[in-house]
């Protein structure tokens, strides 16, 4: 029997606040006239900021809560802050989008907040069932969000696909949890890691459990060969939702990944390492090569997102010591550039997302120099050019990999990132070197979007020029993991 204490409540304060705001949004929704729903968006943004303040409060009283099922440690709080940033940027980028697409309903904001709550629980839970609950909360919210453009068949398709494959993935994960519980009698990660370390030999069922959980998470982070849903879903979902999907749930799944495979299953040793090694290799190669062939901006960014998951896996393969911190750094940088790119694309594609072909961006560099420059910065950062954050993100991963003597994997990673230059630069080529009346130019930038872009661009350059302070922070955040 767990007795709830005040400290327990403080330790889930950010999540509680977010959930509270989500419920309030749902309650206010019927009372607002159709044209005023953006107010709910600003209200949600306020909720996100309040949750951020709460996260700071929580950081003063770290520790376990609810009988050891939730850990308000630095690792979890780092992810909470990351998710709040992603949610805030997505909100800022979606106000005008929703208005334009005529889907400005309060549910959007409520679902976004609930999705964030789920992700926060994923990152802070130290108990498998709790992790699963977080996974489900965030998944259910994002399934609906992906289909939020109800009248668009593509959006419906995306939602259905995401739902079916996502349910598969969570089922795999849950099945793995069942096996673990059956074998060890616990679902608590700390206890689990002790029991597994003590076990003299692993029963075959333990391997089955491990593989099942890996497959479940691999779906969520879209590593090859579990990536097939990604391009379709990213293309069909409303673009701001794609911004959210491509970063939030992915980062949350990586948080679980780190907690489970570097923490609880650390004693599994080299098998886990080789599984990660192989999927990193496949993901980097396939993601980058497939991106070369895309002609749709959203699909291109989808394959780029797959490729980036591969680089994160390289960091995980580099091992717990140095690797974890670099993975956290990478995810934060990835959040800035990917959300920035997607919300900008959301604006540029015009009503009904008509202009999503790369060719539609022709001549943008001269008609809208500021907008094109932002997009160019995102592309350069995704490609990993120095003075942008993308460079240091990759650099730290590669350094960690070389320290761990993963020379072969590092060389593959470097060569695939050279390949990636080609497709990221295609967008730049089209924007600046192709003549033409640009299609993708839909009015002036709304200022909420300007704020989101400014935050991303400034963040990219700040981390590209002065990365070391933030790296220290990620090093601290990585400490709670073994």
């Amino acid at each position: 029997m767990i007795t709830v204490q005040a400290s327990d409540l403080v330790r889930i304060l950010p999540q509680t606040i977010l959930a509270g705001f989500a419920i309030l949004v749902m309650m206010f929704e019927p009372f607002l006239p159709a044209g005023r729903k953006t107010l709910l968006g600003w209200f949600s943004l306020f909720g996100v900021i309040a949750a951020g303040a709460a996260a700071i409060r929580t950081s003063f009283s770290p520790g376990l809560a609810f009988g050891g099922s939730v850990a308000a440690d630095r690792f979890g709080l780092f992810f909470i802050c990351l998710f709040l940033l992603v949610a805030a940027l997505t909100l800022l980028g979606s106000f005008n989008y929703l208005e334009r697409e005529n889907i400005n309903h309060g549910e959007f904001y409520a679902l976004l907040l609930m999705g964030t709550v789920g992700m926060c629980f994923m990152a802070t839970s130290t108990e498998l069932v709790m992790i699963f609950l977080g996974l489900e909360i965030s998944s259910l919210a994002t399934y609906v969000l992906a289909g939020f453009k109800r009248h668009d068949p593509l959006s419906n398709e995306a939602s259905l696909k995401y739902f079916l494959l996502g349910s598969f993935a969570t089922a795999f994960f849950l099945y793995g949890i069942a096996f673990v519980y059956g074998l060890t009698g616990t679902t608590n990660l700390l206890v689990l890691s002790e029991r597994l370390a003590k076990a003299s030999s692993w029963s075959p069922l333990a391997w089955v459990a491990l593989i099942l959980m890996f497959v479940g998470l691999a779906f969520k982070v879209s590593t090859v060969p579990f990536h097939v849903w990604t391009p379709d879903v990213y293309q069909g979902a409303p673009a701001p939702v794609t911004a959210f999907l491509s970063v939030g749930p992915k980062a949350a799944a990586f948080a679980i990944f780190l907690r489970i495979f570097l923490g609880a299953f650390a004693s599994a040793g080299s098998i886990v390492f080789w599984i990660i090694w192989v999927s990193a290799l496949l993901t980097m190669c396939l993601g980058n090569l497939a991106a070369l062939l895309q002609s749709n901006v959203k699909r291109l960014l989808a394959y780029s997102a797959i490729a980036h998951a591969g680089y994160v896996l390289v960091g995980i393969a580099a091992g717990p010591k140095e690797g974890t911190a670099t993975v956290l750094f990478y995810l934060a940088v990835y959040a800035l550039m990917n959300v920035g790119a997607f919300v900008l694309v959301a604006h540029l594609t015009g009503t009904g997302e008509r202009w999503t072909r790369i060719e539609d961006f022709a001549g943008l560099g001269y008609e809208r120099p500021g907008v094109a420059a932002c997009l160019a910065v995102f592309m350069l950062s995704l490609a990993g050019f120095p003075t942008t954050a993308g460079f240091f993100a990759k650099f730290y991963i590669f350094r960690a990999a070389i320290h761990s003597h993963l020379i072969g994997l590092t060389i593959v990673a470097l060569l695939t990132s050279v390949i990636s230059v080609y497709y990221y630069f295609r967008l730049i080529v089209v924007m600046y070197m192709r003549e033409g009346k640009t299609q993708a130019s839909s009015g002036p930038l709304p200022w909420a979007l300007r704020v989101a872009l400014a935050v991303s661009v400034v963040g990219i350059f700040y981390l590209g020029l002065y990365p070391s302070d933030f790296l220290l922070l990620t090093n601290l955040a990585a400490l709670p993991l073994p």
Partner: protein
């Protein structure tokens, strides 16, 4: 003001970028203003480079004008600048060619003027940054960052196949830099620092001495990156495309400065950091360099397009430079550095001249011309002087470098010297033959009958170039004097340590049989 004088390298590096920022805030249609701003900024940078050159003491060993402060804590990256004999001339060359590039683009760039000069000045910052960085990481950042403005210069203002050429250029270079980054990271994991001087000291000492295998791999990682940039045979295929498609200023900077980054990198990093491996590979590299000289010359000979001819002549001339570097002799290396500069000046001038012709006739095919000497006497005279300097006529700049290199090559291996001398003959053949077909004889094409001769602006550019050509050819001492100590240091590093593992045990053979 005193801060400026105390930090000449920082100011020199970032002054053009500051100019680019000013241009960024100019109105789009204020083209004339933008041109003048770029000219003034590039002239200021040149004046400062000249001051640095004059203040550079030829008698002081080691780095000069050093600036050193920490930048990023983890990994320990410092903002470490400094120049020695290897880099002092190249900075001057960069600043000089940028001024020429600005002037050469004065009328030929009519669209997107603002962006053009913005990128041109940003490029200058990147190039100077490469030459003054003494931190491997900082060097790498400038090396990479410089690609982006160059990419835009080729891709936006180039000719018909510009996008293809720009992409090819960037992918080739990026592949090389990826390898170099692995090398830099490996060096860091061995020595725990990115600081060039510290790494050099540590590798020279016995504690961190690299094993033979490690040295070979590291040497190759760096060397291939630089060889692609030079470009050495067989990595040269990006060069004709990029040079031909680039706008005039782009070609001038590409040929004049960017190619030198490769040879500079070899001198600065490959030789001092991996002396044994350098000696080991010297014969192979020299052979490749000679193949480059002869192959480049032969291909240049049959080009129907003047610009392509000049582009292939760069492959040949840079072959000389690499050959000189890998003779490991004082005269060879000094000649190589001198040749880098004089090639920059003469080939830059050739590209400018070709650009002027293109502005008048919108073609560069040799067969379209003939007898230009009668219609364009002033232009033809300047062209002649530059051609003669490029083929190495004594008293002009090209001669000094080539002569020193061939002397060095004879010292190292007489056969190499003899083959390189053959290259000099070939360069005379392709350049003079081209000159003859374009300028001599009757005017065969009516369109060439009424072409206007050089304008005042063009005369200013060409007179400046010819003065430099003459000065470098007649009185090279002020330049060469400043190289001595830097070059001596490199040679000292090469000769230091165990003679060569090759002498004890044929190393490459051992690798193969293992």
């Amino acid at each position: 003001m005193s801060w400026v004088l105390d930090h000449p390298l920082t100011v020199l590096t970032f002054l053009p970028f500051a100019g680019a920022l000013i241009i960024a805030f100019c109105r789009r249609d204020a083209a004339t203003l933008i041109r003048w701003i770029s000219l003034v900024v590039s002239l200021l940078a040149f004046a400062l480079a000249l001051k640095v050159f004059l203040d550079f003491s030829p008698n002081q060993p080691g780095m000069q004008f050093v600036e050193h402060r920490p930048w990023i804590a983890s990994p320990p990256i410092s903002y470490h600048l400094g120049i020695d004999g290897l880099s002092v001339l190249l900075i001057l060359l960069t600043a000089f060619l940028t001024v020429l590039g600005v002037l050469a683009s004065w009328t030929s760039i009519t669209s997107r003027v603002k962006e053009f000069f913005l990128f041109l000045l940003t490029l200058e910052t990147g190039m100077i940054g490469v030459f003054v960085s003494l931190d491997l990481f900082l060097f790498f950042i400038f090396w990479e960052a410089m690609l982006i403005p160059m990419y835009f210069l080729i891709g936006v203002w180039g000719h018909e196949r510009r996008v293809y050429a720009a992409m090819k250029f960037i992918l080739y270079t990026m592949t090389g830099s990826a390898l170099m980054l692995v090398g830099i990271l490996y060096l860091y994991s061995v020595t725990g620092t990115f600081d060039f001087e510290t790494i050099e000291r540590q590798l020279a000492g016995s504690v961190h001495a690299l094993s033979g295998t490690a040295q070979v791999w590291l040497f190759l990682a760096f060397f291939v990156a630089f060889a692609i940039k030079v470009p050495m045979f067989p990595f040269h295929t990006w060069l004709p495309d990029a040079h031909v498609e680039a706008p005039t200023a782009g070609s001038v900077i590409l040929a004049g400065v960017l190619l030198k980054m490769g040879t500079y990198g070899m001198l600065r990093f490959c030789l001092p950091l991996f002396p044994q491996a350098s000696r080991e590979f010297a014969p192979f590299i020299s052979v490749l360099a000679i193949v480059g000289i002869i192959y480049g010359s032969l291909v240049a000979m049959v080009q129907p397009d003047v610009k392509k001819l000049v582009a292939y002549s760069s492959v040949a001339h840079l072959g000389f430079v690499v050959l000189g570097i890998f003779t490991f002799t004082m005269s060879g290396i000094e000649g190589a550095i001198y040749q880098m500069c004089s090639h920059g000046v003469s080939t830059g001038a050739l590209f400018i001249l070709v650009g002027m012709l293109y502005e008048r006739r919108h073609t560069r095919l040799i067969k379209e011309f003939g007898g230009l000497a009668t219609t364009l006497p002033v232009y033809s005279t300047f062209f002649m002087i530059v051609v003669l300097s490029s083929l190495g006529l004594p008293m002009l700049n090209g001669f000094v470098g080539e002569f020193l290199i061939i002397v060095g090559a004879f010292h190292a291996r007489p056969l190499f010297g003899a083959l390189a001398a053959l290259g000099v003959v070939l360069s005379a053949v392709y350049l003079l033959w081209m000159y003859q077909r374009v300028f001599f004889g009757e005017v065969t094409n009516e369109k060439n009958r009424n072409l206007p001769d050089c304008t005042g602006r063009e005369k200013i550019i060409l007179v400046a170039v010819v003065l430099v050509i003459l000065w470098m050819g007649i009185y090279p001492q002020p330049f060469l004097r400043r190289l001595d100590l830097g070059v001596a240091q490199v040679i000292h590093r090469i000769e230091q340590g165990p003679p060569s593992f090759a002498l004890k045990k044929p190393f490459l053979h051992a690798e193969r049989t293992r």
